[in-house]
């Protein structure tokens, strides 16, 4: 029984709509970059990826305001910080304003005798107190005396002064008018930590919007400018930019493709039906990934759409191969084998990826396999039933000899020699650039424009935000042990600072000393009677009045009988923020991280650290190793996929020569493409690799159709037309991508554009001229 055409079309569209509706309800799109990264092999890489995924670093938002006078900016900074704190979207907002750090000050004040490394028994002896009183006297008489006076009766030993660097590190940004400013003094700086993790793009978008709203209300919005940076902000910008650009470029590409198809088929029905298999493929592919993995990564979606782009060509091959008035079922009988091979080669190429242990690559593989298979089946089963033979009125006569460039006119042997020389030159060129071939910087994998990365680097530099290259890692089984390890690391690092091999460091135990250390400090405090006696002795030679230090006596007694400071007490403060960034869970245990500044000799320090029982983590090197490892694995899988394709072709075509005629133009095109990209000054990334996969998939189709046994004359002209239509639409789509502002899209566009051009030209030259008629 055959369904009427319109009923079939209706059913298909209905099924597509239902599928789309299901996906709309069930699809969970992840944008977290780290999911796309491989499961890391070493503890160092796990730490790195963990930090990128959910560390404090991933939640930082760096804010810069400029364009007004310094006092205006300082006022705006305070107003902005106040509004953001009240918004509830941020767990902390810091702008250097001590007045706004009341919680931190109270915490430090209350626990100063547990926090201060200077707390030792001698400090509270008669001699120790006499020295402390003399220093207090000098401070009272200093130009800042009026400001310091309130703290003198509370804190003659100066623990608060010792601890103030916990709130305002001496290497932090400079303060002007009481808030953080950039080095040249023209911009106010803030750093906020969002409650939501960096990969929650929706929440990050809300947080960024809250900052901009607060800025609009801050009073300098008229003339000033605000700039935001940080992983979350960039995730939002990236999504918005890519969405906007994809829409614009896709629209332009779609119009171009429609024009090309319309010019070729001169039938609205044929053009319309061409879109159905690729839409089906995309839906089925995404649904397969969603079912298999629970969610789809944003990058999988983007890359997957690229890979399935090949499916746009399937209907074209079918429609252009139809002889005038021939029903498509008949056409399919003739060229169905080639179409099947075109689909299968892509599936085989992707199969290697699907079995990868990297979630990102596996998703990509599954999406490609399911999508391409669905598009192929839709083309073969549904298109013939939908389109009547009369729908297509192809004009092949008088068609210019498309895609038969000069190469094709050169006699056979000379052609092969020319090609061999060209390919050898390309291979030699690529080999000569081997050390500069790959861009392994993890930062460059992110599709951020260079301007945004530069802003991020500059603000991090100014704010001293955690983006250090070197981290000293001390591991332990539990938190207390990790804090003790942090204290040992601090002692070890202090020696290095003294020796001059290191400029400075930060350790978690500064913010929360281990319970052992706190207990030792508490035990160093004398009892009330002893302290009173020592103080009385110290006061003998001092102009201070006897009753002045009653608050001091009271606070020491309180600290001596009090409880130790716990991590929970720091929650929600700038100190807690610091601590959670430096003391992190790592698998079953804990790791204390000490960011280092001014490392003179990384390799040397690394050796010394290992000998001392610590580990020096070079984040840059580690992330480069991560990316290059990922790339090596991908390359290996791609090679495996290519081998599968070769085997499939050899089995199907049953001829080494024919297999070579199909494979060589495509491999040659990929090789020349890479050489061309390098000549253009590009370094290759994962994006180029994925794009090359598409070049191979599409190129194989060209080669297969040229190589297909066919009659000279009309049929060969139709083949040329088919490849011309397919290549023109691919070039239109990826030519549009080349215009993109987003580096990733541009890289994909360039790779596919030049690759397809080369693949079409080489296929035409090498596969085309040789097949004699076999019908």
């Amino acid at each position: 029984m055959r369904l009427p055409r319109f009923a079939l079309l209706g059913l298909w569209l209905l099924a597509l709509a239902a599928g789309a509706a299901w996906l709309h309800g069930h699809l969970r799109v992840q944008t977290e970059m780290t999911v796309f990264l491989p499961p890391s092999a070493t503890p160092a890489q796990r730490l790195l990826v963990g930090q990128l995924r959910e560390g404090v670093v991933s939640r930082l938002m760096l804010i810069e305001m400029a364009g007004a006078t310094a006092p205006e900016l300082a006022r705006a900074s305070r107003a902005l910080a106040q509004r953001l704190r009240e918004s509830g979207l941020f767990s902390s907002v810091a702008n250097g304003d001590l007045a706004a750090m009341a919680a931190e000050r109270d915490l430090i004040l209350a626990h100063r005798y547990l926090l201060s490394p200077a707390v030792q028994a001698e400090r509270f002896s008669a001699a120790g107190l006499a020295a402390a009183l003399q220093e207090s006297l000098e401070l009272l008489a200093s130009p800042a005396g009026a400001l310091l006076r309130p703290s003198i009766p509370l804190d003659p030993t100066g623990e608060l002064r010792e601890l103030s660097r916990l709130m305002l590190p001496s290497d932090g940004p400079q303060l002007r008018h009481g808030v953080w400013f950039g080095r040249d003094g023209s911009s106010a700086l803030l750093v906020a930590e969002t409650r939501a993790p960096g990969f929650d793009v929706e929440a990050q978008a809300r947080a960024a919007a809250a900052v901009r709203e607060a800025f609009a209300a801050s009073g300098v919005a008229c003339c000033g400018a605000i700039a935001l940076a940080g992983p979350g902000v960039f995730a939002v910008q990236m999504r918005d930019a890519i969405e906007a650009e994809s829409w614009r470029l896709s629209l332009a590409a779609a119009v171009l493709v429609l024009l090309i198809l319309a010019a070729a088929y001169r039938s609205a029905a044929a053009v319309g039906v061409c879109a159905l298999p690729v839409a089906t493929g995309l839906l089925v592919g995404v649904a397969a990934v969603a079912l298999g993995f629970g969610s789809v990564h944003g990058i999988t979606l983007a890359f997957g759409a690229t890979l399935i782009g090949e499916a746009v060509d399937y209907p074209s091959y079918l429609l252009t191969s139809a002889a005038p008035g021939e029903p498509l079922e008949r056409t399919l009988e003739r060229m169905g084998g080639t179409l099947r091979l075109a689909v299968l080669t892509t599936i085989f190429g992707a199969a290697a990826m699907a079995f990868s242990s990297f979630a990102g690559l596996a998703q990509l593989g599954v999406l490609t396999i399911a999508g391409v298979a669905a598009a192929g089946l839709a083309t073969a089963w549904l298109l013939p039933a939908l389109l009547p033979a009369s729908a297509i009125r192809l004009k092949t006569r008088g068609l210019p000899p498309l895609l038969t460039p000069l190469l094709a006119r050169i006699p056979g042997p000379a052609r092969w020699v020319a090609a061999a020389v060209l390919l050898a030159a390309a291979a030699g060129f690529i080999a000569s650039r081997q050390d500069r071939l790959w861009d392994d910087d993890l930062a460059n994998l992110s599709p951020l424009p260079e301007a945004a990365k530069a802003l991020d680097r500059r603000l991090r530099g100014e704010l001293g935000a955690p983006d250090v290259r070197y981290l000293l890692v001390a591991r332990a089984a539990d938190r207390e042990a990790a804090l003790q390890a942090s204290e040992a690391a601090a002692r070890w690092l202090q020696d290095r600072v003294q020796a001059g091999t290191l400029a400075g460091f930060d350790v978690p135990s500064s913010y929360l000393p281990s319970q052992r250390t706190q207990a030792a400090r508490r035990a160093a405090l004398p009892d009330a009677a002893t302290l009173e006696r020592n103080l009385a002795a110290a006061l003998k030679g001092s102009p201070f009045r006897a009753g002045t230090f009653a608050p001091f006596l009271r606070d020491v007694a309180r600290a001596r009988g009090g409880v130790l400071l716990e991590a929970e007490a720091l929650a929600g403060t700038a100190l807690g923020l610091k601590l959670s960034g430096l003391l992190v869970r790592e698998g079953e245990g804990w790791a204390a991280l000490a960011p280092l500044r001014g490392v003179a000799d990384g390799a040397g320090l690394s050796r010394e650290a290992r000998a001392a029982g610590f580990e020096l983590l070079d984040l840059k090197e580690e992330s480069n190793r991560l990316v290059s490892g990922y790339r090596d694995q991908s390359l290996w899988l791609f090679a495996l996929g290519f081998a599968c394709i070769a085997a499939l072709l050899a089995l199907s075509l049953r001829s080494a020569t024919r297999t070579a005629r199909v494979l060589l133009p495509v491999a040659g095109a990929a090789l020349l493409d890479v050489a061309l990209l390098l000549l253009m000054g590009r370094a290759l990334t994962l994006f180029n690799l994925v794009a090359l996969l598409l070049v191979i998939g599409v190129g194989l189709n060209y080669a297969l159709f040229f190589e297909r046994p066919q009659a000279e004359g009309d049929e060969r002209a139709r083949t040329r037309l088919a490849v011309a239509v397919c290549a023109a639409s691919t070039l239109a789509v990826f030519g549009c991508l080349m215009l993109s502002q987003t580096p990733v899209l541009r890289a994909i566009g360039e790779t596919v554009f030049f690759g397809c051009l080369l693949a079409a030209a080489l296929s035409a030259a090498f596969a085309g001229g040789y097949t004699r008629k076999s019908q």
Partner: protein, 188 residues
């Protein structure tokens, strides 16, 4: 008689007015100085202290923004401010460098002296309500902090002098503590 007195007052008024100093005039007078060197004796009276603390030392100034206070007795301590950078050295060997504008309270206290010495009215008015009394030969500059965070600690700064010479600085704190610095200044 009453008429005569009124006439006398009327006659004297322009003369009095000519001698009364405006803040702008005082600032012009002070701004003439390129550099100065001085000795000082400072007496700090505080409720925390049994007896006043007396310190002695030298002061130095160079246009536009360099100022130094060097305490020599009874201990050695040097504060040097160059532009926005404050350097503190004392016998404990601690050399501390900080940014003046980083601590708004400290910035106000330092500008009270430095901007006065430089004759920079705009800088003074950023931190203080400024009032000038007296004549050129004997004037008093009264500074009241405007920002809460300074006013919480400092009630007023009173600078007195003669011509472009500063002879006395008195700081009255909100706590009632008081520091008086007597200055012997040599102008260049």
């Amino acid at each position: 008689m009453r008429v005569a007195l009124s006439l006398l007052l009327l006659a004297a008024a322009p003369q009095l007015a000519a001698q009364a100093l405006t803040s702008a005039e005082l600032m012009r007078e002070l701004a003439k100085v390129e550099a100065s060197h001085a000795t000082f004796v400072e007496t700090k009276r505080s409720a925390l202290l049994k007896e006043p603390l007396v310190t002695r030392g030298t002061l130095a100034y160079r246009r536009p923004a360099s100022i130094e206070k060097h305490v020599l007795q009874p201990y050695n301590e040097r504060f040097a401010i160059e532009g926005d950078v404050l350097t503190l050295e004392n016998r404990r060997g601690r050399k501390l460098k900080t940014s003046v504008s980083g601590a708004p309270g400290l910035a106000a206290l330092i500008e009270g002296i430095r901007a006065t010495r430089a004759g920079d009215l705009a800088a003074l008015e950023r931190h203080y309500e400024v009032r000038v009394e007296g004549r050129r030969e004997r004037w008093t500059l009264l500074l009241r902090p405007t920002a809460d965070e300074v006013a919480r600690h400092v009630a007023s700064i009173t600078v007195s002098g003669t011509g472009s010479r500063i002879v006395r600085v008195e700081i009255e704190e909100a706590s009632g503590d008081r520091a008086v610095m007597e200055i012997q200044e040599e102008l260049k």
